[in-house]
Amino acid sequence: MSNPVLQLKNIHKAFGGVTAIENFSLDLHSGEVVALVGDNGAGKSTLIKMISGVHPPTSGEILLDGQPASFADASVARERGIEVVYQDLALADQQPVYMNLFLGREPVKGPLRLLDRNRMIAETEALVKELDVRIPSSRATIRDLSGGQRQGVAIARATHWAKKLILLDEPTAALGVAETGRVEATISGLKARNLAILIISHSLDQVFRLSDRICVLRRGVQIGIRETAKTDKNEIVSMITGVGQ
């Protein structure tokens, strides 16, 4: 098998004196979906933020394509093809949809390097149509969208830019049944494009529909990794809760 896209080796993270993640290790290959599950406060979001460069790990190693990666901040991870849908979506609420899709990567034109709004709008419209995100307009202000529509925008942004690895922190938490189905189809599409995908979800049905492997975290401790095809919900639930093992 080729080098894993992402390797986490003995990651440890403490906030002050509080341990959030203890000794976490995981290999993630391209074309693979790994689900990260665990109760509230288990440390799932913290793990994603370490991979994307928001928080540095207290100790341990992160390797990208076999190379040690030290992300000074989140922009470095982005340049290497890693995209994230954060739990809080990381949208600029008072800006239009198209500006959010291009946040930090706005195209410019001409010698004065002026914003190419037309291009941003056109590309946003194409993308929104392709992903079937139902928003009133690409010029709509984020604040005027519903929770599900915002989540749709955040997912559209990440899928548009991801080249190697995509991290999704509860991407369907605010979505209805039909919208969830569309996002799951989008994720399957990314998998077919050979991206590596790490998804956090509290819906075990979804986890079983999408993932190749399931990684369980409980209060910062990595309980285990199972192949989705070789486990069942009962086993995962007891790993999450620690009851009935």
Partner: protein
Amino acid sequence: MLSTLTSRTGLQGLIVYAGFVLIFLFFAATLGSESFLTTKNLANIVLQTAPATVMAVGLVFVLSAGEIDLSFGAIVALAALVAAIAMRNQPMIVGVLAGLGSGAAAGAVNGLLVAYGRLPSFLVTLATMGVIAGIGRSISDLQSIPVISPGFISFFGGGSLAGIPSLIIWTLAAIAFGHLVYRQTRFGAHVLAVGDNPRAALVSGIKVARIRLSVLILSGACAGLAGLLYAGRLQSARYTLGESDLMTVIAAVIVGGTALNGGKGTIFGALVGSLMMGMLNNGLILMGLSVSYQMIIKGLIVLVAVAISLRDPNR
């Protein structure tokens, strides 16, 4: 035109225009064509507001980035004094550069403390306002310093180009440049993003600290230019310059439609807000009110205008 204006900025964005028209009509009706409604007086209002408009452009950037600058009024005096002192025995260009440079440098001190010292801009600029005002008093010995360079006085004060007064050219240049940078560049977009959601800006690769530093430098430089305009028009510099502009300019910018807590703003709105404040000033003087009543009425009108502007239904 009106409908695109409303859809983009919401009804809120129109309040400044309504207020402008209302105040204009009020003074036109009460003072009439004897004093208020003369070409000379109206032109005077525009000329007198030039420094405030230039300050307002800087402040739109600062507020949009989610910061505040309380020191720009003090920087106005500092820059004017530094320029006047430099021009005592140096050519005009040295004075101009020294004035603008001192403004930008004061802004950079604010910016470094805010962006890299991670201190709130409210406290930083409140403190530097005092420090800068003190420096202005000490370098001038509380005296006013005459500006004698005719070139400077013409360029920044009473001169004109193709029949258009310098001060109007400066106003238009500041507005045009400000609008271009604010609306049409990545820098402007990043300023808005930082003020809107700094964490989202950060994870989007925007250099948040650098943006915070830049807007405060820009505000300092704008205040510096405003200081030069005062020095040019009054042909002298004094430590009191800019003192009364702090409230006026903040009010102009907020009434103009810029959010006090970042992420939203307009340069044109700030211009209209600034002209409105200038008109108010002018009208109250022409009505023959004593200075104390002028202050009270102006304060109350600002309060009402700001209260209406901030009643955003989406908040």
